[in-house]
Amino acid sequence: MADTETHPDVEAQQHVHQQAGEPDLDRGMVEGWAARMISNPDRAYRAAFYVATFFFLVTTLFPFYWLFMIAISGDNVSNVGVLTPATPVEPGAFTEIFTQLPFHRFVFNSFLIATVATVLVLFVASLAGYVFGRLNFRGKQPLLLLVLVTSFFPPAAFFVPLNRLFNTNVEVLRPIMQDGSLYNTPQAIFLPLSALFLPLSIFILMTFYSQIPDGLEDAARVEGTTRLGALFRVIVPLSAPGVATAGVLTFISVYNEYFFSSLMTDGRAQNWAPMLEGVLGFRGQFEVDYHLMAAASIVAVLPVAILVVVAQEKIVSGLTAGAVKE
C-alpha cells in the first residue's frame, strides 16, 4: 500500500480517476488537494503515513540534536537556540567532562557492572532455561510461575532489606572489602540487577533451547559428552542468537538502570558509582554546567545507541519473545 514508488498502472489509473472525477472546476490549491484526497483515498493514507513517519522521526531524534547544540555552546550556553548553538561554538565540553570529573571512570564503572551482570545472568539463565525448556520434572509449572512472579515486584520492595544487608559488616569479607560490607562495591549493584533481569533472560533462553532438536543432544551424549558438556558445547552454541539477544537486553537494562544504581553507592567514582552519578555530578549545588551535562549525556548514550544500531533485530526479537511468553 505505502510503496515509495507507485506502480505505473496505478498511476495511470489515478490519472484517469482525476480526469473523470474532476471536470473543469477551478479550485484553489488546498481545495484541489482535498478533492484529490477524496477521489483517491489511498493517496490520503499515504500522505498520513509520511506525515506520521516524519513526526515520529523528529520527536525521537530531535532531543539528541538539541543536546548536541547545548554541548557545543560552551560557556554561553544560556543563549542556545532551539535549532542553533550559541556563538561562538566551543566543542571543549567533550574534553572538559573528563577533567572536571573523572567521567571516564564513571562510564568504566557502569561498563564493568553491566558486563559482570550480563555474564552472571547468561550463565545462571542458561542453566535455568535449559531445565525449563528441555527437561520434564515435577514442579516445573509452579517454579516457572515463581520466576515470573519475581519479575513483577517493584525494586522498592527489595530495597530496605538489601540496603541493610549490604551495609552489614561481615567479618568474612573483611580481607577483600574495605570495611567488610558490600556498600560502595560493584557487587551491591550488579547482584540486585542480575536478579531483577534474570527472569527475562530465562524466558528468552528457554524458548530458544526448547527449539533445538533432541537428536542433537542425544548424539553428543552418545559420543561421551557429559550432561553439562552437552549443554554448553551443543545447545548453547546452537542457540547463539538467543544467547546474544538475552545478553544485549541484559546489558542495556543494567547500563540504563537508575533505582539500585543510584542508591547502592555514595556517588563517588572511586567507590564504583555508575555513570548516572557522573551525569548528575555536573549539576552542582551552586552552579550548573549545562554544556557539560549535555556532553556527558551524549558520551554516555553513544555505547547503547551503537548497540541498538548493531543489534536491533536481537532487541526486537528478544523483547517480543520475552513478553509473549508471559
Binding site: 515520529f56 539463565a125 520434572f137 525494586p155 532489606p161 537508575y258 551525569v279 554516555a300 541498538v308
Partner: protein, 326 residues
Amino acid sequence: MASETPPNESGTRLLMRPLNRLEMLSEQAYAYVLLLPAAILLGAIAFYPLVRTLTFSLRADDVFGADPFGKFVGFDNYIELLSGQALIPNQFVDPAMNEPLLRQALIVTLLFAVLSVFFETLIGFGQALILNQDFRGRRWVRVAIIIPWAVPVVIQAMIFWLMFNPTIGWGTDFMQWLGVFGDNPLANTSNSFIIVLVADIWKTSAFMALLILAGLQSVDRSLYDVARVSGASPWQQFKLITMPIVLPALLVAMLFRTMDAMRIYGVIDASTGCEQVPTLTCLVISSFNARRWASASAVAFLTAIVIGIMVLFYIWQFRRTEGGAI
C-alpha cells in the same frame, strides 16, 4: 539417561567426582541441581528481601535508635498509612493537595500509570503501523524509534530537565505560549507531572510499538485481500481484522507497561525531584532517608500489593477476551 555414564575412573581425580555424580542423577534431581544458581540468586536478592520487607513493615519506626526498627506493632503501619496519620516525611510542597501523603502518592502513581499507558498505547500503535509497512529505509526508521527505549533513565531525565529549564530550555516558552505552563514548571507539581509523563511516553512508546508490531506481523495478509475485494475501507480492515488479532499482544504489552509505570522513580528523581511528583517509590525512598525504615517497608509492600492487584485485573481481562469475543 544415567546408563550412558562413562565408567567411573576409580575416583582418582577429585575434581571429576562431583561432575561424575551429576551424570548419575535422575532427570528430576538433575533439574533441581541446575536450578540451584537461579534459586540462590532469586532467593537471596528477591524472595528473602521481600519477606524481610514484610516483617520490617510490621514493626515501629525508631528514628533515633541505633537500630531503626522498634517493637512489633502488627499492621499499625498499614492502618496509619491508609488512614492518613502516618508520620512519613512531609515532602510535598504543593499546598493545594491536602490529601494524606499516601493517598497523594497512590493517586499520582495510578494517574501516571493510566495516562502513560494510554498515550503509549496510542503512539505505540501508530509507530507499529508504520513499521509494519514495507518501505525503503524501514530499518533506519526502526532504529530511530527504538533508540529512546535504549536511552539510560538518567539521560532521559536530563533531556527533559534541560528542555524545561528556565535558563536554557525552550520547552517552558513553548508551553507558556500554549498557555499551559507557569514560569518555572520544574517547581510546580502539576506541570512537573506533565513533564515526567511526556518523558515517559517519549522513552517507552517504542516498547509498546515493538510488542504490537509482533502482533501485527502474525496477521495473515490474505485476510486483507479478502477484505479489499469485499470493499472494506482501510479503517474497517483495521477494526475487523487487525484489532481482534492484535488484542492479546496488546493486552500483554499493556500489562508490562503498567507494572513498569507503577514503579516509576528514576526519571522523577533525576529531573523534577520527588517533591514535585510524589510516587509510591519516591515515598519509599524519602521515608527511608528519614530513617523511617518501617514505614518505608510498609509503603514498599503496599506498592507490591497494588501492582499485584493490577496484574490480577489484567489476567482476568485476558481470560475474558480469550474465552469470549474471539
